[in-house]
């Protein structure tokens, strides 16, 4: 199983984008081959979160904890949290896991826990 979520670093100006985009938002570089694929950092701070109780059909749990994390490399990621009582500003560490599963596909993404 994959161990990283990847971001896209502009070869011209170094700006890292997550998720992928075709034109660099900082310098305007527009050759899509001019992005290096780099792993996102795993550690970061929780910016905000929610417990979602009305879940999409693919989930069988009662609630889903979702959050936005500011990573050590300065990027942000929206992800799932495996944390009982999240708090804004807490330190978290992520690992890649199954975040959604339907009849045909397992979708992988970042799941964060307390450090």
């Amino acid at each position: 199983m994959a161990t990283n979520v990847y971001a896209y670093k502009c070869r011209r100006c170094g700006k890292v984008h997550y998720p992928y985009r075709t034109i660099c938002k900082k310098c305007g570089e527009n050759d899509h081959n001019e992005f290096d694929i780099v792993p996102l950092a795993k550690k970061g701070k929780l910016i905000t979160y929610t417990h979602l109780y009305t879940l999409p059909a693919d989930y069988e749990t009662k609630a889903l904890t979702l959050g936005i994390v500011e990573l050590e490399d300065g990027n942000r990621i929206t992800a799932q949290l495996n944390i009982q009582e999240p708090q804004i500003g807490m330190n978290v560490v992520g690992k890649v896991d199954v975040v959604r599963q339907d009849e045909y596909t397992k979708y992988l993404g970042m799941v964060f826990e307390k450090t």
Partner: protein, 392 residues
Amino acid sequence: MREVYVAGIGITSFTRLEYPLVEIAAYPGLMALRDSGIKKIDHLYVANMGSCRINHQSGLASAVVDHMSLTPAGAETIENGPASGGSAIKQGYMAVASGLHDVVMVIGAERMREVNSLDATDFVATLTHPHAEYIYGITLPSLAGMFTRLYMEKYGVTSRHLAMVAVKNQANAMDNFYAHIQQEITIEGILDSPEALTNNPYVADPLRFFDCCPVSDGGACVILATKDVLKKLEKPMIKLSGVGQATDSHAIHERKEPTDLLAVREAARQSFEMAGIKPRDVDVAELHDAFTILEIVESEEVGFFKKGEGHIALEKGVTKIGGELPINPSGGLKARGHPVGATGVAQAHEIVLQLRGEAEKRQVKNAKIGFTCNLGGFGNNVICLTFVKEEN
């Protein structure tokens, strides 16, 4: 560019409608034709977000134009998420202003309750970023929940403020025959009483059931025309004076300041500048309160109140009917309902009623300038319109 006026309006009840989407679109169109006295249009725009996905119908505008026997007028379907309605009005504005057409019909219509609520929520969640948000189980309520938590932390907004928006808008909707939610609620019932958790459970905390708009079916229509056409109709002269639109990042986490809705700020600025007015000149506004927090935030971003002070204005009653700047007299998305593609047109419908002085019990006194803010995604595509009443 030519000046553009509203010649006629129409609306269906917003609720669960047991008739086909094409008819949900056609009835408000028919009402608007009757209202205006116009028999023939040059062009039809139909705003809709989900017909292909949830109603098994593509080419909606072609179906509607024929259903209404308005052929051979041109017809196009406009899909721009929950901002489809505002977008379609903007297209109509451009067609008339440019000189291409003299009379344009703009309909917004949606039939979301043909599917169950899980499918409807999933349908709206397809607006989110497919790789960076959707796969995690992110839905619009969860984005709103995370946004609300940050906003509370930063600006001191509380659950009580959110409940005040819900109570105000549901009270307004009691006087709107076409509104989906016809239920008066109290802060005690949804927040303070021992039964509050049962009455008002959490959806995406801190957001609760009464912080979220319902899933509705419904349609609305405005007919736009030139000044020459309007003069012959002897209708009140309601001018579409300002049109603004702006976009923002798709994934919310990419926004520099996740509590800002920059697209709202920019779209409103454009709309006011074009109309030549200032935000505080507005007499009545319809804002996109798909979640209660959004009414507060938008009231700041469009420039009615300073950033972080929208909830204070709410507390003081400024945004009630009878206050200095009533917001969502129709009940808003919260209580009138939110058939996604129809909402932007329904907002314009309410403002035209208000400026004409035809809003009956919910009439805002002496309303001369009206404003709408129609939000797509979670603020990634926003259309703001300014309407001004001119003396005949």
